[in-house]
Symmetry: C2
Subunit: 220 residues, 2 copies
DNA sequence: TGTACATCAGTGAACGCGCGTTCACTGATGTAC
DNA sequence: TGTACATCAGTGAACGCGCGTTCACTGATGTAC
């Protein structure tokens, strides 16, 4: 361990970690801390007070940035959607003009996101948003993600990967298929026996294969 | 309204509704009351104390029947699965030797169950069951329901409705597709615009059609 | 049929807890002049 | 550059609440004799 004692006079530990009265980036910190709590302790442990405490701030401080607990959760859901959106955008770019790959890769990314962040996944799609209009940023990113999927569906149709039908319907159908599979896995609904013989990814590729008119290679 | 006054002497109202010290059927009553709370006030309002109160019993009484809150929830999930199982059994019988109809009808019943009991649906498939072995009745009914689906999948394969492949995989795939669609709808994830043009049932049939090698008629 | 007694399924008081939220306040920051 | 002041983003005490769970208890029931 690095011995800092000789710097301690100039930069005492106290100062290095010194709490400033104004945090500077508290709003975003609260969102990230909330996600961390979700990952480490699960949804049941998520309280405004705990988020504030873990962010090193008094329990009333979050109210300077969020109207109430629900608003923080909406912000966390927005962050979840944003991470998916960024990953999706990257995939779209890397596999430009390869709609089947775009479909498979974004589906796998959706699965990975869920496996890596089970409770954030739940919150992201939990429909916190009873009063949608209260959280315009969340609504917007949700729509953007759906739009990406819809574009992929359209292009897949154009290539004959799916019948040329209503792209909205197809997009919802694909989303439902992937979302359902991930949900079942995360919620422990798939029997151990089935899971022992089939990885989540294999289950996913099987489902996609079932829907397409062409073969979806596992090696993609 | 029937005038009961002349019976009142013999059977005073007080007696007709008289609370017996021993309830007689409290365990099941608690489960049903819990489900009612779920339906009327949602998952967030479900507490052991409220369930006890609504069952007309002291708040400690449930502990004579359930080890803790989790055990009651497991019992409610078991009840949810049981309702689905009974409906499924009925469908299997009515549409004996018609596997495609069995598939479509059970899928629709799954959708209906979710639409009619959103929060019971959530609890039923929430994976309360971290420690599965603690709730053998729940595990058993879960397996029975999956077995039904697996049987249907097998028979569909035999009829060429699906490629003859691993029936477990197909069953999981079908389950995921239906489950995901219902989840997305219940959680308000499908945009109003899409829903305005497509009923939940239409979305469901579209998805099933997408997976089968034959046409699934909407009129089924 | 009557009685003694074990067992069962309730009661109600109590415990301790963490929670969301409000409020009067204060320290820090930025801006106009 | 210095000062006055408005605004912002924190603090910490306090409120009231419902919750899960435990415990000593008691009323009702069923059974052995």
């Amino acid at each position: 361990m690095l011995n800092l004692s000789k710097y301690a006079v100039l930069y005492p530990v106290k100062n290095m970690k010194q709490k400033k009265y104004h945090h500077g980036n508290l709003k975003n910190t609260l969102i990230q801390v909330g996600i961390k709590i979700l990952a480490e302790e699960g949804i049941g442990a998520l309280s405004l007070r705990k988020v504030a405490k873990n962010a090193g701030v008094s329990h009333a401080a979050p109210y300077a940035h969020f109207k109430d607990k629900r608003a923080l959760i909406a912000a966390m859901a927005t962050e979840g959607h944003t991470r998916i959106y960024e990953k999706n955008s990257e995939i779209i770019e890397v596999f430009a003009d390869m709609p089947l790959q775009q479909l498979v890769k974004t589906a796998c990314a959706y699965l990975d996101f869920g496996m890596d962040n089970p409770d954030l996944f739940r919150i992201t799609f939990s429909g916190v948003v009873e009063r949608e209009r209260d959280y315009p940023a969340l609504v917007e990113i949700t729509q953007k993600n759906f739009e990406i999927l819809r574009e992929i569906a359209l292009r897949c149709q154009a290539e004959g990967i799916f019948d040329a039908d209503d792209a909205d319907l197809l997009a919802v159908s694909l989303w439902g298929t992937v979302h359902g599979l991930v949900s079942l896995i995360l919620q422990g609904q798939i029997s151990g026996e089935v899971l022992a013989h089939n990885s989540p990814r294999k289950l996913l590729l099987f489902s996609l294969n079932q829907m397409t008119r062409v073969e979806v290679g596992a090696g993609l």
